[in-house]
Symmetry: C2
Subunit: 338 residues, 2 copies
């Protein structure tokens, strides 16, 4: 098994990325191809004991920066670590691509250089999302701001397959984000998508309200990329707001401050429970290859975790499962008259 | 000044509602008309000292329940406290209507019995939203799941006028919710709305991401009713999740639990800061009358607070200001070629 790791992507690249790659090569017994500037990667590799590990470097002279415009970079930076790395996947020389870099850039590069899986209308960005009952899986996070019902149906199939095969959730419950659970609710996109999901053969549990998402009422949360992005960002914002206000109120009260010191391990545990970088990042589903996009702030442990996810995705043949799942759901939807 | 209060609406009606109404009549020196079942209201009134206060009862035999379908109740329950109360506003016999009841029901009744303000395409539900910098104002919260750019422009005008006149925010900063701040981002609705807002003469600060909303980057947050509903509900859900996980982690650690006891006043202050029922509820903007919808869980204090908001709205002539604001923005938009 050979996984390409974008050594140049992420806030702590290349040091933390190479570190995580070395750990993964050792612990998982996989070959990790490090894509990026040879002169930047070699000194990092030299810091580790890599005897007996498979850690070849594939040189790429360019880097796609975190703030670069996705549509522009895919074509312009042909010698970037992302393009070079995904080309290896395309040519069958590697089984998956993993990056901590610009997720929009990864999507654009994948669309341009890997293309779509057969039968997929729109690839989507997806990620685990923390809930009180453990991680759920949210799709689409922002790849497709405007969607059609058929896209959402395919997102549901892809998310369901991924949750089952890669996250290990048996018969995952699929929910469609709406403004109220009742069937009359929803914008026109939701109202047209609901019957498709009902006929899909998936474990569709119905429409879920915003508050149901963190409550863990569904394992796979389906929505358009605009709403999905707002969900992720507002959640980050609300969590940050609560912690900021809490800190302010605690600091204003000496007794409370003493108490907060005692409660600190509990606070740390909460931050950990809510931190999805722990879960190994996002997946780009629907492109013709396995592409895992970790959080930009990933440390070595998170990088290793993303490589583990890639390994599970390869072993569980997630691409084949998505292909046949989408075909089956498409057939069911057509019988429904759509 | 005469304000109609729906004595039957809300989880703690009629007791808490009548209590809040009596307090408001005394503190603000306004006449509070109690609409609802006379036999339910009279015993509640009898519990208070109402000497010298203006608290007439207008009998209405029906109640619109919290879980009733909005579209069905507006026509069917003609002798409900909502319909009877809004009719008083329509006939010019009262200056505003306040309810803690079913907000969708209030919207449906208002559309049917009050109608729209001249020039308004779609009335909207709006409410304050907690941020680290104090309350912001979010519009639309769910009245219009599918929107057009012209609707969002009018929401921006209505929200801006309301924030300035009723919430006392000078020259409020208006932000449009999007999936990223850059101008190329956004779904097609956002992309078509952005130029209208730029030409509107409002203090438009651009597109705001989900995380910018709780960070307080805008005073008036404009979005379609689907996204607005998701924002409010996901925020409630994330806040509940954080508190639940925190409680679980604290209870698992005896020392942390002792600490949490000491920090309790700070936690209470956080809950208060995040609780928008404190701010006096939501407003239904764009209908031909002042309609304030408090939170269903309102206690007497929150009811009084909603009545105070209604009083400020009446005094500041918010309806006239919305009418002329919308006219001005419509003219500007037409010059832009829209």
């Amino acid at each position: 098994m050979r996984i390409v790791l974008d050594a140049m992507g992420g806030d702590y690249a290349p040091a933390a990325v190479v570190d995580g790659g070395v750990q993964a090569a050792r612990e998982f017994g996989v070959e990790v191809v490090l894509a990026g500037r040879r002169e930047a990667i070699e000194p990092e590799l030299a810091k580790h004991d890599t005897a007996g590990l498979q850690l070849p470097i594939v040189h790429a002279s360019q880097v796609i920066e975190m703030d670069e415009h996705p549509a522009l970079v895919a074509k312009a930076k042909r010698d970037s670590s992302m393009v070079v790395g995904m080309q290896l996947v395309r040519q069958g020389e590697a089984d998956a691509f993993v990056t901590m870099g610009n997720s929009g850039g990864a999507l654009a590069v994948a669309l341009f250089h890997l293309g779509r899986l057969k039968g997929i209308k729109r690839p989507a960005l997806s990620s685990v999302f923390p809930t009180v009952k453990g991680p759920a899986f949210l799709i689409d996070l922002g790849a497709n701001a405007d969607c059609k019902p058929e896209y959402l149906l395919q997102f549901a199939v892809m998310g369901s397959v991924y949750a089952e095969r890669v996250l290990g959730i048996a018969n995952p419950r699929v929910g469609l984000v709406s403004n109220g659970e009742e069937e009359g609710k929803g914008n026109s996109l939701v109202q047209e998508t609901t019957p498709l999901l009902k006929a899909s053969g998936l474990n569709f549990v119905g429409n879920v309200e915003g508050k149901d998402v963190p409550a863990g009422l569904a394992d796979v949360i389906v929505t358009d990329g605009f709403t999905g992005n707002v969900i992720v960002k507002i959640s980050e914002g609300v969590a940050a707001m609560i912690l900021e206000v809490l800190e302010r109120e605690i600091k204003a009260r000496p007794v409370a401050m003493a108490g907060a010191l005692l409660a600190k391990p509990a606070f740390r545990a909460v931050k950990r429970a809510l931190d999805y970088s722990e879960y190994g990042g996002a997946a780009l589903l629907g492109v013709n290859g396995i592409v895992i996009v970790g959080h930009g702030r990933s440390n070595a442990k998170a990088v290793k975790s993303a490589l583990r996810v890639a390994k599970v995705a390869i072993e569980s043949k997630v691409l084949d499962a998505i292909r046949s799942g989408v075909q089956a759901a498409g057939g069911a939807a057509e019988e429904e008259g759509n």
